[in-house]
């Protein structure tokens, strides 16, 4: 298995809190991986830690390997600060949730766009300016000449996120990580941004990791989906597979709690309870206390392994729909 970014049995521990446990996934060039989970499921922490951006006092084990388009492999977890700095921005780009805060309010769009190419690609200011113009056009911002001189507060939310995407893609990284990149935007803008990223991905062949809690977003964009709960992967499959043959009780509950167009339910279904405390991970299944199909003592005392009942579809549960 080799992709643009391979994560093998990644675990993140802070003190006694085991925030992420044994997470593995990989995303190939030109592909999109969706990582879904509710708040506190460890989805952001796992990805940020992989790039050395996690909490400073975290203890990280496992392997994270980034394969460049030139075939060179970078083992991100064993890298020193300087080497890691040369990878970040050059080979991995990040887009964060709120474009209002992730752009520097005191710098013009031009300065934010030229910084990366000047640092990583050793461009002259003039070349970098040309690159900035090109990038703004690439992400679909009209009148780029004028927007270069704008400050972030002079742009709308959607435009800001486009600029942020342009910043992230400035050095043509192999991997783009979108951490809830559309959550702070309203739905129409959200669709535009997703469209823009998908379009860019096709043109540049970037591998994308899309972290979100929105199944609809993932359904529209991802090739493969990883569902995380309580710091573990509970289900992983190709998107179509996951949507059609949902196996894990948690994933099924997620689907059931979505509002459906046309049917006005009295109340939206929710999953009662909250995710486990990372400082006191239960011995059995992490989803045990909230699970609707939990059957016996085994769920409470024995930790289910991630198994592959059908080819390419991984589930961490003792009870699969076929048995129930």
């Amino acid at each position: 298995m080799s992709g643009a970014l391979d994560v093998q049995s990644l675990s993140v521990t802070i003190g006694s809190a085991r925030i992420v446990r044994d997470v593995s996934w990989s995303v190939a060039q030109g592909q999109t991986l969706g990582i879904v989970g509710e708040s506190g499921s460890g989805k952001s922490v796992s990805v940020l830690s992989a790039a050395g951006l996690g909490p400073g006092n975290a203890e990280i084990t496992g392997a994270v390997v980034l394969t460049g388009s030139d075939g060179v492999q970078h083992d991100l977890l064993s890298m020193g600060g300087n080497a890691l700095r040369r990878v970040r921005g050059r080979r991995i780009g990040f887009v964060f949730q709120d474009p209002a805060t992730s752009l520097n309010p005191m710098l013009t769009v031009e300065r934010q766009l030229t910084e990366g190419p000047e640092v990583h690609l050793s461009m002259t200011p003039k070349q970098a300016r040309g690159r900035a113009l090109e990038l703004l056009e690439l992400v679909g911002i009209p009148d780029p000449e004028r927007r270069l001189k704008a400050y972030p507060h002079e742009l709308s939310g959607g435009m800001r996120q486009r600029v942020m995407i342009a910043v992230a893609l400035a050095c043509e990284p192999e991997v783009l990580i979108a951490d809830e990149a559309t959550t702070a935007l309203d739905v129409t803008i959200q669709a535009q941004i997703i469209e823009a990223i998908r379009d860019l991905q096709e043109r540049l062949g970037t591998a994308t990791v899309w972290i979100t809690h929105d199944l609809a977003v993932v359904g529209g964009i991802a090739d493969e989906v990883v569902v995380m709960y309580g710091g573990e992967v509970v289900e992983r499959a190709e998107t179509v597979r996951l949507f059609q043959e949902t196996k894990h009780p948690y994933t099924r509950a997620l689907f059931e709690s979505r509002p459906h167009l046309g049917s006005r339910a009295e109340r939206l279904l929710s999953i009662p309870g909250s995710p486990p405390d990372p400082r006191a991970i239960p011995a059995g299944c992490v989803f045990w206390d909230r699970c609707s199909v939990r059957a016996d003592e085994r769920c409470r005392t024995e930790h289910p392994e991630l198994v592959e009942p059908t080819d390419g579809h991984w589930v961490r549960s003792f009870y699969l729909p076929e048995d129930a």
Binding site: G89, F94, F96, T101, P105, I141, R146, H153
Partner: protein
């Protein structure tokens, strides 16, 4: 912003109210700050006073009507008149010429002293605030020690060690104002370094140095500029105090503080000897302070957008 519909400017033909609120083609950056400053009468007045002081400091030699050290016993202790606008002192030296000449000393000492404080203090505060931990403790505790002494006492102690004179007074004043800059910078750095855009710059490969200089520093420049303006006024006062005490500028070179000291003996008979140098100090310091206050209002990009009637 969240309570406000946010028209996407991408829709070009539809010009929304937003376009009028924040004109896309307004003056920006320093030009905008300058425009805002000039819209306020007090701002214009302080700038004029400070420009006047600077002009006097630079071209005082040509502007002064008399040689500053020309002793003319016949014309001693004259009250202001057509020949001597500000009167003369006990040796018949022209007060106006001496006040003008003193401005050069004041400007030089305060600008150099504040530059020292600015560079050292901002660097220390930035490092302390950005890295935190033991570095923060070491730097800030050392600043606390400096801060614990009354300014003038500390300056006097430094001058006592290095010996009196203009250079040592400058260094002493510079050192005394380091902690203020360190504190202002550290506090602002603390609030800015956790902002998403600093994290974002890190995620795009910026090292600590780049994060500090190109992302933290521009966002904390406003309080630092304001502090610079305020510190300039305090530095002028400190220089005058040190010279008054005989620890700064040495006679016969004139200085506002020294002139005030010399005037004490004649306070009841020759008011002009103390009033004019005192007025010079007062006006310069007031102008610096007012400018600092106005800069505080003007320098924030976001609040400037609000001042134009905007909603953000």
């Amino acid at each position: 912003m969240s309570t406000h519909p946010n028209p996407d400017v991408t829709a070009e033909p539809e010009r929304t109210a937003y376009e009028h609120v924040v004109p896309a083609e307004g003056p920006r950056g320093w030009r905008r700050v300058a425009t805002e400053l000039l819209r306020r009468p007090v701002g214009v007045a302080s700038i004029l006073v400070l420009l006047g002081v600077i002009v006097l400091a630079l071209f005082g030699d040509w502007l002064a009507p008399y040689e500053i050290n020309d002793i003319n016993i016949a014309d001693r202790l004259q009250s202001p008149n057509a020949q001597y606008w500000f009167g003369t002192d006990e040796l018949g030296r022209d007060i106006l010429s001496r006040v003008i000449a003193s401005s050069a000393v004041s400007v030089r000492v305060s600008v150099i002293a504040v530059s020292i404080a600015l560079v050292v203090g901002v660097t220390m505060g930035l490092l302390a605030g950005f890295f935190g931990g033991w570095l923060d403790s070491v730097i800030m505790r050392s600043q606390d020690v400096l801060f614990a002494f009354p300014e003038i006492l500390l300056a006097m102690a430094i001058v006592a060690i290095l010996g009196p004179g203009v250079t040592t007074a400058t260094i002493a004043i510079g050192v005394v104002y380091i902690p203020v800059f360190a504190r202002v910078t550290r506090a602002s750095t603390l609030s800015v370094r956790t902002e998403t855009y600093v994290r974002a710059s890190k995620s795009l490969g910026a090292g600590p140095w780049r994060q500090m200089t190109s992302h933290v520093l521009p966002n904390i420049s406003a309080p630092i500029i304001v502090q610079t303006s305020l510190s300039l006024s305090f530095a002028i006062l400190s220089e005058a105090s040190l010279s008054f005490l005989g620890l700064g500028v040495q006679p016969p070179e004139p200085s506002w503080g020294r002139m005030l000291f010399d005037s004490r003996a004649f306070f009841q008979d020759a008011w002009w000897m103390s009033v004019f140098p005192g007025l010079a100090v007062f006006l310069t310091v007031l102008a610096c302070n007012l400018l600092g206050d106005i800069l505080r209002d003007v320098l924030d990009v976001r609040s400037a957008a609000t001042a134009g009637g905007g909603t953000r």
